[in-house]
């Protein structure tokens, strides 16, 4: 299962990779900004996209909106440090599948990815 991590903080990406790399069958790649994320989505077709919202030069919501027309659409997990009810509602309205507080709920995001990886068909070896 291919997981794309989109976050402008290298430190956060590093820690998330650490957490996710223990999961079997998960291939992780990363993007530091919105445009980079859109490019990676088009070129590598991830199964799961973990999206930060506040990023320089474009927000995670813009990436989410760009994903609307994709078919099949990757599972999107919003992971933000600005978890207002408005952001949550807006993200779900646009098509996000999960919404987590980056500091308080990152473990839940990891757990969701773990479950998705378990359920995903294993690639032929």
């Amino acid at each position: 299962m291919k997981v794309l991590l989109v976050d402008d903080s290298a430190s956060v990406r590093h820690h998330l990779i650490e957490l996710l790399s223990t999961l079997p069958g998960v291939e992780i790649f990363e993007a530091a900004q919105a445009s980079e994320a859109r490019h990676a989505i088009r070129s590598r077709r991830p199964d799961v996209v973990v999206l930060d919202i506040h990023m320089p030069r474009g927000s995670g919501i813009e990436v989410l909106e760009a994903l609307r027309a994709d078919d099949p659409r990757p599972t999107t997990i919003m992971l933000t440090n600005d978890p207002t009810p408005q952001s949550r509602a807006a993200c779900f309205r646009i098509g996000a599948d999960f919404f987590f507080d980056k500091t308080a709920e990152f473990q839940q995001a990891v757990d969701v990815i773990a479950r998705l990886a378990q359920a995903a068909p294993q690639p032929d070896l």
Binding site: S11, V12, H15, D82, Q86, S87, T103
Partner: protein, 479 residues
């Protein structure tokens, strides 16, 4: 304004001159009229007299002379019948007596009376001396006296004609004098019209134009001293006013320029402040916030690798997590207060909604929002202005209104975006609403004006306060 002092030219005042001129003219006409009336009365008497009897004595004396001659002829004739001649003489003598009586009635002068008395005496003597030698002498004397009297009466006629001529001349002179006086008065009136009335009318017209608001006109400095002085002073006043007007316009232009600079400065200041807040908020989010997140992830990593049989260490880690969470809350609050991310990520309506909820949660004042706008493409400057005014309004509600409910509407009206914040508090006093000393209200008004919008605040005692902001719905530039 400078007080103008114009030198006075010494001289007789025009009005007095005119008064004297008219007085002399009128007196002259009055005198001429009296003289003319007298002359005409006299002429009338002479003409009337001449019309009745041009030379009355001359006719009577001529008849006397004729009758006297006939009397003498009768007397000298040789009558056929003596008695008949006597009768004729008596009749002729009667005629002569009648002639004398007629002449007597015409006498007006003493020398004429003397002559007449002499004639009567001579006639009486002649009649008495009838036929005697002495009668011839009386007859000669009568002839001589008749010549004198006839000549006297002729001369009297000539004198009458001369008197009539003199009276006619006097009347003519009077009429001519009156004509001259009338002409002089006409000339005086014309002079008055040219030198006084026209300049005064022109001055009056100029003053009227000034009264109607045309301050560019100038009076013609002309006419008598007083009128010219007034015209000059009026012109000086108008010039002074024009100079003051130019100065006022210059000052106004400078003031407007200064206001414009101040407005630009304020706009720049607000923009810089907003940019600074955004930068700091982002920095806090990107560095402190992300670092705390990473720290918490590290703590979680350690906790996973820590066995439960080291309770002191586990407790310490739990305390660290709590500390990190508290710090994250604080950091997020600071960053959000500086610049709420929801405004940049989701737009004005979402930011207003978030702020309203946050306000309700913080103050306990019930807040109802009705937002029916699509503000996704709204210019960030507009969004920021409206959002900051909204924040300030809520701050005022919390601080001053003593309200329990706030109703917020955000809607499109025509091509504008309108935000209304209405509370049910004590209501702002009109004097406070229009006060220039309220920094908060001034800032809200300034923010609205800077984006080409309008701001109003109104209230009534016990009926709450309403803040209304209206901004043009400018779309953000495509990037």
């Amino acid at each position: 304004m400078k007080v103008m002092s114009l030198p006075r030219v010494p001289g007789v005042r025009t009005a007095r001159k005119l008064l004297v001129g008219f007085g002399i003219g009128l007196a002259f006409i009055a005198l001429c009229s009296v003289a003319g009336l007298l002359a005409l009365t006299k002429l009338n008497a002479i003409v009337r007299h001449l019309a009745i009897d041009p030379v009355p004595g001359a006719a009577a004396i001529a008849r006397f002379a004729k009758d006297f001659n006939q009397y003498r002829v009768l007397e000298a004739s040789s009558p056929v019948v003596e008695e008949s001649r006597d009768t004729s003489l008596v009749l002729k003598a009667t005629d002569i007596e009648r002639d004398l009586k007629a002449y007597d009635d015409t006498i007006t002068q003493d020398d004429d009376r003397r002559q007449f008395t002499g004639l009567v005496a001579l006639w009486a003597r002649y009649a008495v001396l009838h036929g005697a030698t002495a009668a011839q002498k009386a007859s000669d004397e009568i002839d001589a006296l008749l010549i004198t009297m006839i000549e006297w009466n002729r001369l009297e006629g000539v004198r009458s004609i001369r008197k009539a001529d003199a009276a006619t001349r006097a009347a003519s002179a009077t009429v001519v004098s009156m004509l001259v006086a009338a002409l002089l008065l006409c000339a005086l009136a014309l002079h008055f019209n040219r030198t006084v009335e026209r300049p005064m009318n022109a001055l009056a017209e100029t003053a009227h134009s000034v009264a109607l608001g045309n301050l560019n006109v100038r009076a013609t400095v002309d006419g008598p001293l007083e009128v010219a002085t007034v015209a000059r002073e009026l012109n000086e006043m108008l010039d002074a006013h024009a100079r003051a007007d130019v100065e006022a316009r210059t000052l106004n232009a400078a003031l407007e320029e200064s206001r414009e600079q101040l407005r630009g400065f304020t706009a720049g200041l607000l923009l810089a402040r907003e940019e600074e807040r955004t930068t700091i908020a982002r920095e806090i989010h990107d560095t402190v916030g992300q670092t705390l997140t990473a720290l918490k992830m590290d703590v979680a990593w350690i906790r996973r690798r820590l066995s439960d049989d080291t309770p002191a260490t586990v407790d310490k880690l739990a305390a660290m997590v709590t500390l990190i969470d508290d710090t994250v809350v604080t950091v997020r609050r600071i960053a959000t207060e500086l610049r709420p991310g929801v405004l940049d990520d989701l737009g004005l309506a979402a930011a207003v909604e978030w702020q309203a909820q946050e306000f309700e949660h913080r103050t306990g004042i019930h807040c109802v929002l009705c937002a029916s706008v699509d503000d996704g493409a709204l210019d960030p400057l507009m969004s920021t202005a409206v959002f900051r005014i909204f924040q300030e309004s809520l701050t005022n509600v919390a601080r001053h209104s003593r309200a329990s409910h706030v109703a917020v509407t955000l809607e499109h009206v025509d091509s504008d975006l309108v935000l209304e914040v209405r509370d049910d508090g004590i209501g702002i006093v009109p004097a406070d609403a229009s006060s220039v000393r309220s920094i908060g209200l001034a800032g809200m008004r300034e923010r609205a004006q800077l984006v080409g919008g309008g701001f109003s605040i109104s209230g009534a005692a016990g009926a709450g306060t309403t803040v209304r902001v209206r901004v043009p719905c400018r779309q953000k530039a495509n990037r």
